[in-house]
Amino acid sequence: MTAYNKTHMRLVWLGLVYVMTLCAQEIPPAATRPVEFEKDIQPLLRKRCLACHNGQISQNGVRLDDGAAALAGGYSGPVILPGKSAESKMVIRAASNKKGFMMPPMGPNLTADEVGILRAWIDQGAKWPAKAAAAKGPPKQTHWAYLPVTRPAVPEVRNRAWVRNPVDRFVLARLEREGIEPSTEASKATLVRRVTLDLTGLPPAPEEVAQFLADNRTDAYEQLVERLLASPHYGEARARPWLDLARYADSDGYEKDQVRPYAWRYRSWVIDAFNEDKPFDQFTIEQLAGDLLPGATIDQKIATGFQRNALTNREAGVDRAEARFEQLVNRTSTVGTVWLGQTVGCAQCHNHKYDPITQKDFYQLMAFFNRADDEDILAPVAGEMGAYLRERPEYERRRAELFDTYKVEAMQEEWEKQMVATMDTPGKDLEWDFWATSMRAMVDHAERSLRTPKLARTALDAERITYYFINNPGPANNRDKEKMDCFRDLRRRLGDLDSKYPKLSQAMTLAENPKPTPAYIAVRGDYREKGIPVEPDTPGFLPPLPAKEGANRLALARWLVAKDNPLTARVTVNRFWQELFGRGLVRTSEDFGTQGERPSHPELLDWLANDFTGNGWSVKHLIRTIVLSATYRQSSDVPKDLAEKDPDNALLARQSRVRLTAEQVRDAALEASGLLDTRIGGPSVRPPQPAGLDALGYGGSVKWRESEGPDRYRRGLYIFFQRTVPYPQLMNFDAPDSNVTCSRRRRSNTPLQALNLLNDPVFVEAAQALAVRLLQEPSPDRLERAFLLTLGRKPTARERERLRKFLDEQASGAAKNEAAAATLVPFVPEGRKVAETYAWTGVSRVLLNLDEFITKE
């Protein structure tokens, strides 16, 4: 890596012009003799420049291997100005000895003679003879992932009896080549728990297990799969990994990390989309450009919340243009990873080192998003509208009265006038400057709203401005104690009023900006260093957009799911495979570039991609195909020889044992104990967490107000995600931090997880509830019931013996000191003793802590 490529050289670049002038004074004089390109210049370029400035790499867009390209310049404009050598960037930088600026960035500097010759050549007209052959352009792509999806023939296999569908033939053909036998099918008990966890995220109830075990029909498993695919929890299970990709969170991130009260609308949209098996191409189009669809529905607009999940930096000192730029970078990189499986983020600052994506590609891709504005909309959920319409007139009347009493309108008008004046001519009044800066940061497009005549503002914008004023009436009003008292009263009364009347839910969406700011390449990734302008376009190494004219997000979305796009379908089927096997056919599911791993079964990947798109991009079809395969149904036991031959299970001679995700661990404990609230969708919840954790948030601004009632027992994917203070159990079990897109969760195994499961009140409560459940249910074999509820299977004799011993010890110990034992037992079922309940709570804790309990086998 060179200093030349340093990503954040902002301050150095800040003084670019200044430095250039400085350097100009030190440039050696031009040679006085006539120079010849082929004799004097070309060898020098070859020796010192072409390593980075050729047709393949072209750092900063500069090519010095081709006359026309060289004279056209790079991302920051021309580098050779014929006749003006002292002003040509090429010369200025070649003459510099400033680290991070000089060219070439490494090795000895050009000598004064060499610079002099370059100058002479430029001053003499920078002639590049046509016969000095243009070098090769970018090489033809040969990387597998950029080539069209093939239509591989389903291979022949010897052991046909094992095969259940084409998936198996691909897997078995490979195993037969390697001389490895596939594993036998997992037991029915294992299978039902596995597939229920995979398709719904929840473990099966004992009754569901019993039903499946008793079902002797030949298609019992197929029936089970159909039932699970139709479960409303299917959408929840599919949504969670997608929310990881969408870096979904309930707060802005960065310092202020403000709550996003309506982020959940997007989450609900995702759940619903999977439940109704929205075709993945449509699913894609709506998230990227739902607002641009003809007659876009509110739901289609809500889908664009995908983009809005990017972080928002409201730190007041941050330049708004910078905050916006960072957000667009986040959106661009995210789309690159999610649909294309490409690490396009590298190209923010420089051409990708290994993959063909150029910096220009990155900014062209970003230009699609540059044309969209963030737009919060009123998006009522079912049932809200009636009450709202009924009560709104009265609410508005009462609010108008309140505002009249406090003369809000007149004061706000005055305040707005001053605010706009400050924005027009900053630097006149320090205090107003500060207030204007703060408002710009805290209120989305504040300035645009303020400059819109009051009556022309959208209802939401108008309300936002008024409420912001009432909450932040300074600075002039701040000095008037009497006025401040009035504002305090007003805020209290307004709060009371607002809490009594129904509101409409909102949603965070995108809307196309009719007058977008022009897009440029940001030289070296610095938003202040504008390079050449760019138009929205797709990366050059992939099939082109059908029409460049009018290229917008909708065109981009359609391009992503077009037939000839080699990446989207492959990347997508691979992720669903990863969900079901714990690793993808391409292990690096986030990176299909040249640095990513190659697929273990390339033909299978392509077959699945074809099968997926050929069946209308149906995710349910894809999932069904995979889980019905014999490959999926194999046992996950790890025989010794297999552990040695294929420790990572790339060849799929067995299933993989996979630890449950953070959310699943919690859901499973609550489900086994009967506490889980299985309602689907809706706003995020805040289950109990130890006091004081929220103090980690900036300046004490984060408040974790515990949810009440059954909301405490909602599924993990509904837990409020505060980016700077995430819920500890989620982080302990490897949930992503939601700041950047996450294609693949890690699975760690730590003592903090053990403490979490053993001692977190949530899990203790689950154990207590499970014990009570066991003691209340009439059951001839309570221990067996406990196993069925937690592990979905019966205990072995040895397990039974061991837990029986533990149970007896615990009961006799507790009987000796019932008072102490009672503290663990908040409730003793009728006809039971404290000691007995205590002992069963203990057994429940053991079961909820077993590796098997938190593992999908």
């Binding site: 960065y254 700077t724 890690r746 003592p751």
Partner: protein
């Protein structure tokens, strides 16, 4: 590296036969030490030797969030008086970026009195008499600079080497490189005081490194480590019996399944049990003698909270914890500079000095690297948010020149690195970029910063991104 990558298959077979042969849990003691013979390496945090000879074994990073004002604490600028009330010369401010104030804001002289301290005679502000008294142990860097001039980006840069999200923090890198000496406490511990920081949990995340490298927040109330105490009504015996039952059941299952993940979960539970024993002992200050308590000021205000954290930091380091991140917020004095700076100095100066002196008297300073400082400094120009209140004056963010200091752990004390101009605006000698500091600190821990890398998305990442030079002058 995922845990199962660490598991040698040979070792796994041996473990299987050990368990089957009845050696069982006795083997676990070995499993937890990478260097022990018969080690199974199930513990990714097992201590590792660094590639280069090194003094520092642990780090106490005193992260002073917000940007402490260098010209009021560490970098005396009598020259400011001459400019006081006037804007800076235009040549200086032409290209300056400022968070809140405008570039024509007036210069504000520092009312602080600086005095030479120790044998080295390095000048410290009258707000820092105690830290000043450690001048001979401290390497004061007056020439720090950074690119970010807003809090969260600045904190990301200081902690992760970039303003982008998703990278591991310094503590996570240290743990990844060195593991932890402690087998019953987390290897990377976070202590907080004051109010919450801009970065929050992003200051101690593990980024793309596995999450066992992330910092564990030691809490100021309740259990020091989250979920450390057994539930109410569960005494030590019951908890141990529970651990035993879990272990036996897991072992039974392991024999059937043969999956090494089960073995590593068994090891994790043993560690958890040890943590439950060690945690309360860690938090029990009752055996600290009176003079030590006094030294740190833990029984009085305003030093109680900061002092408690300093003493805790020492106790953590004594127990083999690799990286202690103390986060104190906030030194972000846009307003009421004199009053607020005094407040934060008063509550932290004595305990900070006590930590240095206490580590020294225990012979631990040589192996403990202390780092003190924030994400950037403050402007020589004044910031005023309330024109009516003369006390309201403060200073804005300044990334071009600021001060930090280091002590112990291979750092040469009693010296100043770098020099700023008369106005404290620019550095004129020995610039130390945040990446240079990171490179130097990693060197103290025994790493060439360009070689402590982790492959992610096809690239070898490192703390210093693609920059950084070790500041040799800082080293012993």
């Amino acid at each position: 590296m995922e845990l199962h990558d660490l598991l040698g298959l040979k070792a796994r077979r041996r473990f299987l036969s050990d368990v089957a042969g009845g050696i069982g849990m006795a083997a676990f003691a070995d499993l937890l030490h990478a260097d022990a013979p018969n080690s199974l390496n199930v513990n990714p945090l097992a201590p590792k030797k660094p590639p280069l000879p090194a003094k520092a074994k642990s780090v106490i990073f005193m992260f002073m969030e917000g940007g402490p004002s260098q010209m009021d604490l560490f970098d005396p600028k009598p020259g400011l008086a001459k400019w006081s009330g006037k804007p800076l010369p235009e040549s200086l401010i032409k290209q300056t970026r400022l968070a809140f104030i405008k570039s024509d804001a007036k210069v504000m002289a520092s009312p602080r009195v600086f005095k030479p301290m120790g044998k080295s005679g390095i000048e410290y502000s009258d707000y820092l008499p105690h830290v000043g008294s450690c001048a001979d142990d401290i390497c004061l860097i007056r020439s720090m600079y950074t690119e970010a001039f807003n809090h969260h980006p600045g904190q990301l840069l200081l902690m992760t080497g970039t303003t982008q999200f998703g990278r591991p923090t310094f503590g996570a890198w240290a743990l990844y490189g060195l593991g932890s000496e402690s087998q019953n406490l987390p290897g990377f511990v976070v202590l907080t005081s004051g109010v919450g920081t801009s970065g929050g949990a992003t200051n101690f995340g593990s980024g793309f490194l596995p999450s066992h490298y992330q910092g564990t927040l030691l809490r100021n109330q309740g259990d020091p480590i989250l979920y450390l105490s057994s539930p109410k009504g569960v005494d030590r015996n019951t908890q141990r019996a529970t651990f035993d039952a879990i272990r036996d059941m897991n072992q039974e299952h392991f024999l059937e399944k043969g999956d090494a993940e089960i073995a590593s979960r068994m090891a994790a539970y043993e560690l958890a049990f040890r943590m439950q024993v060690a945690g309360p002992e860690l938090a029990d200050f009752s055996k600290e003698p009176a003079h030590i308590r006094e030294m740190y000021g833990i029984d009085k205000e305003p030093t109680r909270q900061f002092g408690t954290n300093c003493l805790m930091a020492r106790r953590l380091v004594e127990r083999g914890v690799r990286f202690v991140l103390m986060m104190h917020a906030s030194w972000d004095q846009h307003t009421y500079l004199n009053r607020e700076l005094k407040k934060h100095c008063n509550l932290s100066d004595q305990p900070t000095a006590a930590l240095i002196k206490d580590l020294k008297q225990r012979g631990l300073l040589d192996s403990t690297l202390i780092v003190w400082g924030g994400e950037f400094g403050r402007t020589p120009m004044v910031e005023i948010r309330n024109t009516q209140d003369p006390e309201n004056a403060g200073r804005d963010h300044h990334p071009l020149a600021y001060s930090m200091w280091c002590a112990g752990g291979g750092i040469k004390g009693g010296q100043v690195i770098g020099k700023t101009d008369d106005l404290g605006f620019n550095i004129i000698e020995d610039k130390v970029h945040v990446h240079d500091l990171q490179a130097t600190l990693l060197r103290c821990l025994g790493f060439d910063h360009t070689k402590l890398t982790y492959r992610h998305m096809g690239r070898d990442f490192r703390l210093t991104d693609i920059a950084g030079n070790v500041v040799d002058k800082m080293l012993v």
